[in-house]
Amino acid sequence: METGIRLALTLGQIGAVMVAVLLTVALLTLLERKVLGWMQDRMGPMEVGPYGVLQPVADGLKLFFKEDIIPAGANKFMFSMAPILSLVPALIGFAVIPFGPDWTVDVGGVDFKPFVITDINIGVLYILAFASIGAYGIILGGWSSNSKYSLLGGLRSAAQLISYELNVGLSIVGVLLLSSSLSLVTITSAQAGGFWNWYVFGGGAFPQVIAFVVFIISSVAETNRTPFDLPEAESELVAGFFTEYSGMRFAFFFLAEYGNMILVSCVSTVLFFGGWHAPLEILQGPESLHWLTGMFWFTFKVYGFLFLFFWLRATLPRLRYDQLMRFGWKVLLPIALGNIVITSIWAYIFP
């Protein structure tokens, strides 16, 4: 009985989060084209529905009914596995993200946390580990397509993800030192009580703003977005690792890219910007309304980061490959390491 309730609750929660994420992805595809258009003095999609608001529906239907081509000479098993291997890690990371206050509700004798699917004590590590697995999907997709463009895109992406994952991991370490926990719920609750307590502003300890900048740059590279979109550079590699993909398999890669974008936005919100906490205690409202204001502030911050992604894409040109590597290894890595050293010393002197 208890197991049944727990299972039903968790499945419901997973379903709700999945629906929310996929709806956000659908919204993002439209939003990105609109924002990009507005920034470039264009209109974006205007034909489907009023002001093009039904464009995601049309895109989805098109992808669903498109012919699914497997290129000649492709490794069929790997070719089919690659989109799944890249989509699953992108979605699975949301399991540890706290979307609202850390409440525990008693449902039929089962302790139930309504705003986080599972609060495991290695949450950050879990997300990093699955982000690394996502790279396999990209590399295998590039390799199994039996196409030179795909292979080059996959290879580029392999090198890029390895270089920049290091920086993501190292820039997080400062936050982990300050919160002395890997659980995202604990990290969020450590940042309560006003924006000066957010880790990006320090809250008495060394401000993690440098780590935050390193993290944001590296996560743009991790999600293969401009200016680090070398694995799918349109003007050089057609579409990079998913050149040969069409139909639903392509849609999976697409969902994975946008899912990853949302995931890194959520992670940077939780780690550096206080998760669901409002910038001021007054804006959080009464205790009973924390679930509403919490969800609002979380969504607000996440969309702020997503807007930043669009904004960067509208502004910056693509880096050359050697620039990408030099920037990752010779600039970001020493900065991230230095941040760890300074944060530790600061935390030791002013405990």
Binding site: W38, D41, M43, T315
Partner: protein, 179 residues
Amino acid sequence: MNLKEWIKTLTFYEILLGMKATLSHLLKYKPITLQYPHEKKPLPSNYRGMLALLRYDDGTEKCVGCDLCEAACPSRVIRVVSAEVPEEPAKRYSKEYYMDMTRCLFCGLCVKACPVDALGMTQEFEWAVYDKRQLHLNKQQLLAIGDRNFPVREKRLEFQHPNVAYFNVGFKDIPQKEA
């Protein structure tokens, strides 16, 4: 690098400058897009669009079948089959008139060459078709294009004998009628 450049690099000065530029375009949103099929740009009056055959105001064809347009065309678009008007041996007309618009480069030399102003260039340009053969136009189609684009037709000049092809040399050289 001197100190100023270091500070600029560390604060992402140049990137922020670029981002300010893009944001200002977002806030002062003035699209230059023309929603083409719904709204169209006004064409200049001398726009060289689809070719058409013209008629006089009494509905007779202007074309006298002289073949000069065929001779003038650099792309060999036009093919004219000239014939005598039955029972009027002095008068000729184009029995068949073909234009292969797939080859036309819209230079307007045929219009310039025509001695009776029987050819005109319309403002039509939306002639995308699924079958290339639909662009191989015959006389009826060309006349229809002319009819729908030039509703105001030129008068057949009164001093012109119906049996004589009138070769025009520009309006200023036409002998003016007394009022």
